[in-house]
Assembly symmetry: C2
Homo-oligomer: 365 residues x 2
Amino acid sequence: MDRREVLAGAAMLSGALLGGEALAQAGRRSTRNFRRIATEEAFATPEFVEACRDIVKAGWNSKDLDFWRGLLFRQNDPRLADLLDLDQQRLATMDRLGIDMQLLSLTSPGVQFFEPMTAATLATTANDHLAEAIRRHPTRYAGLAAFAPQDPKGAVKEMERAINGLKLNGFILNSHTNGEYMDDPKFRPILEAAAALGPIYIHPRPLPDTIDGPYRDMGLWTAMWGFQVETSLHALRILFSGAFDDFPDLKIVLGHMGEGIPYWLYRLDYMYPKMERMFTRKLKKKPSEYVKSNFIITTSGMNDHAALKYCVEVLGPRNVMWAIDYPYQEAEEATTFMNTAPVSNEDKALIFSGNAERVFKIAQS
Amino acid sequence: MDRREVLAGAAMLSGALLGGEALAQAGRRSTRNFRRIATEEAFATPEFVEACRDIVKAGWNSKDLDFWRGLLFRQNDPRLADLLDLDQQRLATMDRLGIDMQLLSLTSPGVQFFEPMTAATLATTANDHLAEAIRRHPTRYAGLAAFAPQDPKGAVKEMERAINGLKLNGFILNSHTNGEYMDDPKFRPILEAAAALGPIYIHPRPLPDTIDGPYRDMGLWTAMWGFQVETSLHALRILFSGAFDDFPDLKIVLGHMGEGIPYWLYRLDYMYPKMERMFTRKLKKKPSEYVKSNFIITTSGMNDHAALKYCVEVLGPRNVMWAIDYPYQEAEEATTFMNTAPVSNEDKALIFSGNAERVFKIAQS
């Protein structure tokens, strides 16, 4: 039993002495002290929704939109209204739950599955739309910029505009682009720009068609399983390509408790020296060291205390950030999950907002 | 703090009162009391090695053997001698480390990548070879039978012979067979037989060629990453096919701390009701309930206390078994890992041998 457990035990004991109602009040008081910044929160622009509908209406076969089809066309799907809203219901939900700020990003599937020109235009309009919402509600929103990797030079220009011009806080990427990953040499300018400008949040996307056969035919291709298979592969390709040796300041944010990677730190470190011959470059550090220095994970979609405790133990409390995945997952469940998390108050403050302030350069309140 | 923690605390306190040296002695005494059964331990027959060499010599392109090629042809690779030995060095290592028993299985890549007739013959000779070794050393070995799923009817006959005739303890399967998984209706007789006869240990194998592109070109296709991607996919396909509703007694053993699946219990349960429409059958229980009732995991290749603690917490101590992966991983490291594991002595006894005795019907010593 370490010191934190002793303190927690003492708190429980004093709670018992206070009686149930007083304890509940004390709980509300103590949790109200945390600034809460949710870090994987989706929005959509009208232009983006229209462009998605055009694809579906034209009968194009889009696996990315298969997942989204119902939401786009069902009458009055509340999630579509929630995605488009940045001034009403979203803020009311945040007020009700004590959420100070959302770090917004253009909803998946993002712009990468569009034609390159459309993708670039949609990214630009989404970033402008986002910057305006932040201007209207500067203490309630921060944001990640979309960009179209299909044209790496154009992407870098938009990344620079988003940070230096629009004052956004980093970037959102929906995993692969036409089956290609960010370790590809053609995307090197994008990683270089991100190392200088701000972190890239790699959000899941369905696996490329070329490798999704046995996920697709069993219903395992989306958030059940395939999303993490795709996103962890992407993150590890970047790691083992040596990108973090070239760009030590490059930060990659991974949702869903790190897309499974924290579970494998021992094995990655154990196997890498035996497998080194399979890689074109030799890494300077152990794989787990990059996971701890260049990846930061969020709790999005994983309201699971056991996994949270595990991650805080193996990655340290500075590498975990809180997220909801609004409006796709329930804001109240995610907030209660973190309010009641079995970690010290010091760690809770880091996970609720301290790490997000540092990583995304969000002004302290 | 539950009862076990209190007892552990009391043990530590009495250790402190005894002083350092007495404590170390007490530690040695207490660890000597565990029966140790290692559950993922490889052997090879001369026939199997010869058949692998034939494939390589004939110039056939075998991804499975790429991984093995050095071991087959390097002069005096000690691992090849260790795989073939069942009477000398293996027993000496076990004696030195206090390992009472190895549960043996034919080494990966197993028989599934051979032509069907060759596969069946190699499985039969391996099972006979294994049964003879157990007859020579009945207190030191138990064993898992190989079988050739290419011919499901023939496989079932060999499975019955292995359990009823040779008195083996279960089955070893090296994941996919020609890109097909055990949920395929043609393999149904094999799952039905296993439900009646004994558990199937699904050992990793490289991903099918059809879906390994971005693993292959980055050195991520073997034990670094691809092995668990392949094996967890296989296990989840069986689960979501509804096989455990048809065969509630079917047990699947997974190495490497459950191939990552224990990390995802919350998300599998959260997402399944939303994704149900993607599946042809509706499951009777929550996904995590099958993980706890029909999967059993081993620690093979994952000598990691944080992951062990996590698995004991989320799966319960009856669902975790100790393994080394001899001779591919170090027996001493795996033994020390479990000797010093941060779990109660009661749980340690289950993980070291109690669960293996129950699951594989190994007589208690």
